[in-house]
């Protein structure tokens, strides 16, 4: 199989690394080969964070070639746009709606750009954009902190990845602290159903 390339983008603190690790662990459960790239340390402190997950035989590079993402999973609209260079017209873009203003923007006295402007720009790269009300659903599950898992639910529901729902749930159970497992399972289901309902 050709490598399946995912780019996860957002802001440090949104749980991007955990989401990437869950995807990678699910891939291992399916006996697939996988590479996950992460960023740690200073780069994470409220800064732009990108993690990439590549699944398939003979994947070697942990990084995705520009224009070659199959999926961009955006945790934050501006950061989704910042990573549009990985998209082609075939790319599926799934985007959460939590808007986090970069302090640099606020300092200039500017407010967050309108979401429809960001969508318009994203669609210059790919028409396949799914917006997910990740923040609302995460809070419904119990905490804004589980947006990452809401988005994983949404991603798996599209059926576009080589990862089965069961494997992802198993990986979730393995990596999420037991105390928060119920909340995460709920978050996953809410994200999953959200996308399923879009199709009906």
């Amino acid at each position: 199989m050709k490598a399946f390339n995912m780019v996860l983008a957002g802001v440090g603190g949104q749980g991007i690394l955990l989401a990437a690790e869950i995807l990678g662990t699910a891939a291992i459960k399916e006996r697939l080969d996988v590479r996950v790239s992460e960023v740690h340390g200073m780069a994470q402190r409220g800064g732009a964070v990108v993690s990439m997950v590549r699944i398939g035989e003979n994947v070697l590079s942990p990084l995705v070639l520009d224009g070659n993402a199959d999926v961009i999973l955006g945790f934050e609209p501006m950061e989704t746009l910042r990573n549009a260079k990985y998209a082609s017209e075939k790319t599926l873009i799934i985007m959460g709606d939590e808007q986090i203003s970069p302090p640099a923007l606020t300092l200039r006295g500017e407010s967050y750009p309108r979401i429809d402007e960001i969508l318009e720009k994203l669609k210059r790269f790919s028409k396949n954009v799914i917006m997910v009300e990740a923040l609302r659903l995460a809070k419904e599950a119990g905490s804004s902190l589980v947006q990452n898992v809401v988005l994983l639910g949404a991603l798996i529901a599209t059926g576009k990845t080589p990862i089965k729902k069961e494997s992802l749930v198993e990986a979730l159970k393995e990596l999420v602290p037991a105390k928060y497992l119920d909340m995460n399972m709920k978050a996953f289901e809410l994200g999953y159903q959200y996308v399923k309902n879009l199709g009906s």
């Binding site: 402190r45 070697l60 950061e79 407010s111 790269f125 990596l175």
Partner: protein
């Protein structure tokens, strides 16, 4: 992070998804290493963290040393008693350790010793992007370069094997894309480790006075000849791919190898690849043979043209007709920043004339249009970070005229507007050092910023220098009670060891007093008025003074509150707000934003309720968003 206990499983053949650094931790157990020392630094930190989490059960001794040279000396001491040891650090940590390591090469070791140096091309979390391979070269220390987590694990045992055969320490050099890549890793057998060593007196070998050093230098050079033979036979130096007609030969190592392999497939190049995993000393015969087999050889490597220099020297002697392409002369690959699939693809395209399938020009054009408007999002101090309160007080009291030499840690982020505290930053401890020269040369009020972990690592000798030479500087120790930036490791001020056992914490203020600082104060930066007054007092003091601004890291505090189910009450903007924007212009807190109508709002998902913005608001228009349920003082 998978449960660290996974690393303890004696299940050869088990396949787990591990970070390169976690794989190295597993490698430590598979190599029978008994002593592990480290000072945290990205991208090396998780090696120590993973070992620390399992050290007691594994029977390994692990410590977070006070700095890298101490780490190497502790490991080197143990290794000279026949106990296998490993010391892990980031690339610039190797600068700190170099004084010990370069002469430890003369002394040698008896038990295997590995020094992990994690390079950071692209400076994701570092002050420079130096190439550690040159340390191996000029110290005459063998160097191994894994290209993925599996190799990172396997090479630990291999490094120990080489180390014991040669009686030399071995450098295991990773990069961010090895240390911080997760990939499937197949476990090997666990090896029973030995923590019982024996010191054997042997002054000629161990006491490096000049008369003993001279012959040891020759011994070291003889060892390198043996090492070269090992490189010729190393299972990690191999032809990784054979083309059809050998149109091109490609030599690569480390992260660069992964991009190279994929780029060659994408371009459909007819190329052989020589993959080098042992890169010092280099297998000169093997490289010579490869050069003779090809008219055109391309060297793909990250950062400095280390391999290329050597390959060209070998070519001159063994294959003068072969063209070598890389970065020297005509530059096909960048010498700064990290490589990427695209950078390698474009370099190979330029050399071979083969074109990639992606129309990068069109993509770049569209991308440039959309990101022109996109503000950058560099890392910032977290909401509720005590350093923000300290910086606000410092800047308010000392103002524009003062100079603020700063240091390595989260607080380096204070240099950015609007806090603007941080004027020069070089390396660990340099804030206190440069402050003395600046105050001498300018007589401007000089406030050196340094963190708690950094103070122990590098601050003390600089402080002694300031006191003894009567430099008039204020040392502001921003003490958030942990090594925050690298993932909250303990340090001598925390009262916890790498073995996760309690110990007596060392108080920074006591150290300062003991060194002879005559004005030493401790304040909580969230006691805003007191912090400001204390700083005024220090600025008036004619000699060296030191203030400890002490409050726990906001991330640690937040985690603790969540663990204890304590409520976190964010703040909100009330009707009293006049939109003067003081909170935004003075603090730059990520939780304070502007709404679509340009009015100030606080993001309740980010705010932790520290109260700094409420304190500075001239209209007292910021208040708790709700009554708290108690227990959240």
């Amino acid at each position: 992070m998978p449960d660290p206990k996974t690393l303890l499983e004696n299940k050869p053949g088990k396949r787990a998804l591990l970070l390169g650094n976690e794989a190295i931790a597993r490698g430590i157990l598979e190599a029978g290493i008994g002593v592990v020392t480290t000072y945290p630094g990205t991208p090396a930190s998780e090696i120590g963290d993973a070992v620390s989490a399992i050290a007691r059960e594994a029977g390994v001794y692990m410590e977070y040393s006070v700095n890298e040279i101490v780490a190497v000396e502790v490991a080197g001491g143990a290794a000279n008693c026949g106990v296998r040891a490993l010391s892990a650090m980031k690339h610039v940590g190797l600068n700190v350790a170099a004084d010990a390591l370069t002469t430890l090469a003369y002394v040698g070791v008896r038990g295997g010793m590995v020094v992990v140096a994690a390079d950071d091309p692209e400076c994701y979390s570092s002050q420079n992007e130096q190439d550690s391979r040159f340390y191996a070269w000029f110290s005459n220390i063998p160097c191994l370069e894994p290209s993925n987590p599996q190799e990172a694990k396997d090479m630990v045992a291999y490094a120990v094997e080489i180390s014991e055969k040669l009686e030399l320490p071995v450098i295991l050099r990773t990069t961010t894309r090895v240390s911080h890549t997760r990939a499937p890793v197949v476990f090997g057998k666990l090896v029973k480790l030995n923590l019982k060593g024996e010191f054997v007196r042997d002054a000629k070998r161990l006491v490096m006075v000049p008369a003993n050093s001279r012959p040891r230098h020759d011994v070291l050079l003889q060892k390198m000849e043996k090492a070269r033979e090992m490189a010729e036979a190393s299972p990690y130096n191999l032809i990784a791919r054979r083309g059809k007609n050998r149109e091109y030969g490609v030599i690569s190592s480390s992260s660069a190898y992964n991009y190279t392999m994929e780029a060659i497939e994408l371009l459909g190049l007819d190329a052989d690849i020589l993959k080098l995993g042992m890169t010092h000393p280099l297998p000169e015969r093997m490289i010579g043979q490869f050069l003779r087999e090809h008219d055109k050889v391309i060297v793909v490597e990250e950062l400095e043209p280390y391999l290329e220099l050597h390959v060209k020297a070998i070519a001159k002697d063994q294959a003068p007709e072969t063209e070598v392409y890389g970065k020297i002369g005509r530059q096909y690959f960048p010498r700064s920043g990290e490589l990427s699939p695209r950078r390698v693809l474009e370099g190979l395209s330029a050399i071979t004339g083969r074109k990639a399938l992606v129309n990068f020009e069109n993509l770049d054009k569209r991308y440039a249009e959309v990101v022109r408007e996109l503000p950058p999002r560099p890392p910032v101090l977290c909401p509720g970070c005590p350093h923000r309160a300290s910086f606000y007080a410092i800047r308010k009291v000392a103002g524009e005229k003062a100079v603020y030499p700063t240091d390595i840690g989260c607080y380096a982020l204070g240099y950015a507007p609007p806090l603007n505290v941080g004027d020069i930053l070089i390396c660990m401890g340099s804030g206190v050092g440069t402050a003395q020269g600046i105050s001498k040369a300018t007589e401007a009020p000089t406030i050196a910023i340094i963190g708690d972990s950094t103070f122990f690592h590098a601050g003390v000798p600089r402080l002694l220098n300031a006191i003894y030479n009567k430099h008039r500087i204020v040392v502001a120790v921003l003490d958030n009670m942990t090594t925050a930036m690298t993932g909250h490791q303990p340090h001598p001020g925390t009262g916890l060891t790498g073995m996760q056992t309690a110990t007596e914490p060392i108080a920074i203020e006591k150290v300062a007093e003991g060194c002879g600082v005559k004005l030493v104060k401790v304040v909580n930066p969230f006691n805003f008025k007191e912090a400001e007054n204390t700083l005024k007092e220090a600025l008036d003091f004619p000699e060296t003074s030191l203030i400890v601004f002490r409050a726990p890291c906001a991330l640690l505090l937040l985690r603790e509150k969540r663990r204890k189910d304590l409520e976190i009450v964010p703040l909100k903007v009330s009707g009293k707000c006049t939109n003067c924007l003081a909170c935004i212009k003075l603090l730059g807190c990520p939780a304070i934003t502007l709404t679509e109508n340009k009015t100030v709002a606080i993001n309740e998902n980010l705010c932790v309720g520290c109260g700094l913005c409420a304190y500075i608001c001239p209209y007292k228009a910021i208040e708790p968003a709700k009554q708290c349920r108690g227990g959240n003082a």
